[in-house]
Each structure stands twice: as structure tokens, then as C-alpha cells.
Amino acid sequence: MAVLQAHAQSAGRGEGTVPLTRQEVKHIADLAKLGLSDKDISLFAEQLSAILEYAAILEQLDTSAISPTATVVPLRNIMRADEAGPSLTQNDALANAPRAADGYFQVRAILE
């Protein structure tokens, strides 16, 4: 992973880039629970590297004194009273479920 950190820094200084490896692509895909074919792993390694190399242009900017903008609206922590109100019926909520039983969403076992 330190190799990728170097990639982010060096790209900004135009020193040549370190592309994402297949191993790294597989790791990201696993974080995202996204199955990828062998072909896609190679393709994404190439394409994501190109995009990230281009994104390294942001390194040119000194943002040490700048706060990040997470949201453009001047709103924080919109609250409401903790009171139950109308909501979807159980039937409506389950209507699109690929697998449902006894009024529940059915999932595969997660424990042995």
C-alpha cells in the first residue's frame, strides 16, 4: 500500500506513476463485495490507474488551510421528535424481496 502512496505523490510531481496491481484491484473489489472477471481485473487496473494518475493533478493545490466541503447546504443535524408515524406496510416492504418468509427478508446463513 505504501507503493500506492508513492504513486499518488509522484504523479503530482510528474515523476512517473505506479499503476494499480491486479492484487490491489482484487482487494478493492473485495471491499466493495463486487465480483470481477479476470479480464475486468486487468481492465480496471489499467483504467483506474489512468483516472487516478489524472486525479493526482489535485496535488498541485495547497489546501493546508482549507476545510473540506462535505455538503454545500448550511444545515447540520436535522432532527425530529422520536415519534412513530405512517410508514410502509410489511407487505409493501417485502413486495420486491427476492426471497421472503414469514414476513421476513430471507438471507443465506452467515454463521456456520
Binding site: 463485495k33 463486487l34 483506474l48 476545510s67 454545500v72 427476492p98
Partner: protein
């Protein structure tokens, strides 16, 4: 003039005078869709029975003295906005079978105003794209040249409008997805200020950027649609609690003294010369109307693209985590365990561009990279926003081209993601800053429409609409229509 060619305002006038009925108007639009849509392919789902029933109810309501702002007007809705009981696919196999049990807030508001819904329009999958080629189902054609794209991601809505397959339409705009297709299809499209329109019922792509926006045949119609869909909504905690002005009151041909800024960065090398020429001519028209034009600079414009393509995919990677085959949508049946089930569901359900953005976003948020990529991008976002804050101290509106080119050919950019992303380079900044912006036709290059983009400060929709209206009324672009190949009604 055929009924389906009417603008919303003209149709309302004829409806109110009882010269036409809502049923006739909706039937004419449905017939038009049958005639034209094999060649345009704007619609994913049509709802003719429901539409005629809604139109009939509108006629009865009007006869009983009711007068909703859009009573009896047939509209098209982008397929990432929920209409209860009607499939909402988001242009994706992973939601091919999804039928929402609720209406989006904008739909509730449009229903209250008496609108009629013709159907759901095609889009790039999950609103990710600039050409509608990323739809899992098919590509929509540009009515001005069916070998070319309509733009994206709201390509279906823009094409439907340009082909008179609806009197108005809804799209969504995250980085330009209403404005750019409006530009490529020669119609009016607007991204409201972030927080102006509720996102409840809009399938989330990038939560800090998404906005539902109106598409229309002219500026007055756009203003009317904006009136109806704008509101504070307790079900969207990013929606602003501020009064909604009557945007149609802003429409005057009078713009003497209007302070217009022209950012020089919007005329950089990547913008086609023909597009630049049309926009320069448009600026000349504004000058002749009495506006004060001054060149200015938004120095961080060149950083908008990498900023957006870190923030939007990061937010998308979180928003699309819910597509796991458990609650709705496609679900892989044969996987040996739950983890494989998730992976296979998402592998088979998502298209390439969606996968690419999930990967990019996941990477940008992952441990060790979060600061270097996501936080860095959010800081540059602040700089981009500050450019606009400064500019709007000096100017009422800013103008420039909406898209760097006219409609490109289908297939031309699909193999190079970065090349495709460059289509949005002129519209991303406004989304990042959360301000409002509109595109309207300002000319043609080789018979293909060019859009003028007018940007205003947050909640400055009235200045933007006023500028757009004055320009529109002084020109004739909005009267031109593409020639559509038609099937005969059988």
C-alpha cells in the same frame, strides 16, 4: 400545430379555454410516442392506461372548477425517480424487476398539480454517464441525428422532449446530467440549487450532488415545472426550508444593467470552435439587450473534473452498497454462500461504468487513501465553491457553453472513460458548488444543437431564468424542431 407539439403554457391556455381536453392531449402524446419512439427509443416503460385515466380525471376536475398548475399536462419521468406501482429500473439489470411502493416527493407534488405521467425514460445506468449508452437496456438516439447520442445521463428525457414525446420532463443532475443532454438535444434543462428540490424518491447516486431538474421546450415551461417540484421536504434532510418564489414572475425580456460574467476558462482549447462561436454570438445578443458583459476567471475550473471523479464515485460506492440481492432486485441464486451471493449479484447486476465508479470510490475512501483522495477532493471543492462566491459578488449570472461539443456519434467514446468524462467538464463545477444553472439552445453546428449555460448563485434561479428568457425571446432557436422518422399509427 399538432397537440403534441404544444408547450405547457400553450396547452394550459387551450385547456382552460376548453378548446382541447386533457384526454385528447394525452392521447396525442401517446400516439406520437408510438409514431416516433422506435427510432428515438427514449422510453423504458410506458403507462398509457394510467396516463389516460389521469387525463380523464384532470378533465373532470377542470369541469368541476379545479385549476392545478399542471392540470392535464403529460410529462415524462427519468427512470431513477420513483413512481409508485411502475417499474423503476435506473437503467440497470440489478433493478430490472423493482417496482417502488411509493411516489417520490416531486411526483406527489406533480400529482397534486394535476400532471399526467406518460412513462419512464431511459438513462445511463444509475445516472452514471454522459451519453445514455450506459443503459443496460438500449441506447437512446438523438432526435437531431439518430446516429448520435442524446447526451446523458437524462438522455431519454431530453430526447423525448426534443421529439415532442412529452410536453415536459424530469431528469436528475449530479454533474451535468440534465444540462448536458438538454444542450445536445436542443431543449431547456435546469439544475436547481442543491436543496431546492427534494431527493426523496430519487434513487441516490451522489448524495451531496444529486438534484432533480426540469426539462422543457422553453424557459417559461421550465420555470413552471420548477415551481411545482420545489419545496422543503422533511423526508429529505438536505432540503432547504426556504420559501419558493413564483419563478414565472422572473420572466421579463428586460435585462438592462444585468451584470454578466464570462469565465475565460469555459472557452479553453477543449471546446469545439463552432460551439464557442455560437456562445459568443449569444453573449453578443445579451450585450444588445443591455446586459453588462465582463470577462472573469474561475481559476479552479480545471480541477473540477478530478475533484468530481473522486467525490461522486466515493458517494456512489456507499449508496450502491444497498444492492445486495436481499431487499429487492436481481439476486444471484446459485452462490455457495452469502459472500459469494453478494459478489455474484453485483457482478451480474451492474454494468461496466457502475462497477468502475464503485471501484474508484471504494479506493478513494479506503484506509490509507481517504485523506489523499476523498478529503483532498473535498478541500478542492471548497476552492471551487469560493471561486463562485467571489464571482457572484460581482456578477448576477455567469455564462458559457454547456458542453464542449455537439452530440457525438454513438460508440465514439465508450472505450475511453476519461474521454467520456470530459463531456461534463463545463457542468461539474456548478454541481460541486451546489449553485443553480440552466442550459438553453443558442445555435447549431452542422445541424446539431448548441447549449448556452447560465449559472447563478445559490437560490438565484430567478436571475438565471430572467437572463434565459430575455435571450430566448430575442432569438428563434427554441422554435426549431428536428425532423423525426415516423412509423404510421396502425
Amino acid at each position: 400545430m399538432k397537440l403534441y407539439e404544444l408547450t405547457i403554457h400553450k396547452a394550459l391556455d387551450l385547456l382552460q379555454k376548453r378548446e382541447i381536453s386533457a384526454t385528447e392531449l394525452t392521447q396525442a402524446s401517446l400516439d406520437r410516442i408510438v409514431q416516433a419512439d422506435n427510432h428515438i427509443k427514449a422510453y423504458l416503460t410506458l403507462t398509457p392506461e394510467a396516463a389516460l385515466a389521469e387525463a380523464h380525471r384532470a378533465d373532470q376536475a377542470r369541469a368541476a372548477g379545479a385549476d392545478g398548475a399542471l392540470l392535464g399536462i403529460p410529462l415524462a419521468v427519468k427512470d431513477n425517480i420513483c413512481l409508485a406501482g411502475v417499474p423503476t429500473t435506473c437503467g440497470s439489470r440489478i433493478l430490472e424487476s423493482f417496482v417502488p411502493p411509493y411516489d417520490a416527493t416531486v411526483i406527489t407534488q406533480l400529482r397534486r398539480a394535476g400532471a399526467v405521467f406518460l412513462g419512464k425514460t431511459n438513462l445511463d445506468e444509475f445516472a452514471m454517464g454522459s451519453s445514455t449508452e450506459n443503459s443496460a437496456f438500449f441506447t437512446t438516439r438523438n432526435p437531431w441525428d439518430v446516429t448520435r447520442v442524446p447526451g446523458g445521463s437524462s438522455g431519454g428525457s431530453a430526447a423525448a422532449l426534443a421529439a415532442d414525446e412529452a410536453l415536459g420532463a424530469l431528469g436528475s443532475d449530479t454533474g451535468g446530467s440534465v444540462r448536458q443532454p438538454a444542450s445536445l438535444c436542443g431543449v431547456v434543462g435546469m439544475k436547481p440549487t442543491y436543496g431546492r428540490v427534494s431527493r426523496y424518491g430519487l434513487v441516490a447516486f451522489a448524495s451531496s450532488l444529486d438534484q432533480i431538474g426540469p426539462l422543457a421546450k422553453n424557459v417559461a415551461d421550465c420555470a413552471l415545472l420548477l415551481n411545482v417540484i420545489s419545496a422543503h421536504d422533511p423526508r429529505d434532510s438536505t432540503s432547504i426550508d426556504a420559501p419558493v418564489p413564483d419563478h414565472t414572475q422572473a420572466l421579463t425580456p428586460e435585462i438592462k444593467g444585468l451584470r454578466v460574467g464570462v469565465p475565460r476558462e469555459y472557452f479553453a482549447g477543449g471546446v469545439q470552435p463552432g460551439v464557442q462561436a455560437c456562445v459568443r454570438n449569444a453573449i453578443q445578443v445579451l450585450t444588445e439587450l443591455g446586459a453588462h458583459i465582463t470577462e472573469t476567471s474561475l481559476p479552479h475550473t480545471q480541477y473540477a473534473l478530478p475533484t468530481y471523479y473522486l467525490i461522486a464515485p466515493a458517494e456512489a460506492s456507499a449508496n450502491l452498497a444497498r444492492y445486495d440481492g436481499v431487499k429487492y432486485g436481481y439476486s444471484a441464486k446459485d452462490a455457495p454462500d452469502i459472500w459469494e451471493a453478494y459478489r455474484e449479484t453485483r457482478q451480474r447486476g451492474f454494468g461496466q461504468e457502475v462497477k468502475r465508479r464503485i471501484m474508484l470510490g471504494t479506493y478513494a475512501l479506503s484506509a490509507g487513501y481517504y485523506d489523499a483522495y476523498y478529503v483532498k477532493a473535498q478541500k478542492v471543492r471548497t476552492l471551487i465553491k469560493q471561486d463562485f462566491d467571489r464571482a457572484f459578488q460581482q456578477f448576477d449570472v455567469l455564462v458559457g457553453p454547456t458542453a464542449p461539443s455537439v452530440a457525438f456519434r454513438i460508440g465514439e467514446r465508450v472505450d475511453d472513460p476519461l474521454q467520456m468524462y470530459l463531456s461534463d467538464v463545463l457542468t461539474l463545477s456548478q454541481s460541486l458548488a451546489g449553485i443553480c444553472a440552466l442550459s438553453l439552445p443558442c445555435g447549431f453546428v452542422d445541424g446539431l444543437p448548441v447549449g448556452l449555460q447560465i449559472s447563478g448563485p445559490a437560490f438565484g434561479e430567478q436571475s438565471v431564468l430572467r437572463t434565459a428568457y430575455a435571450y430566448e425571446q430575442a432569438t428563434e432557436w427554441h422554435g426549431r424542431k428536428p425532423r423525426i422518422e415516423e412509423d404510421s399509427n396502425t
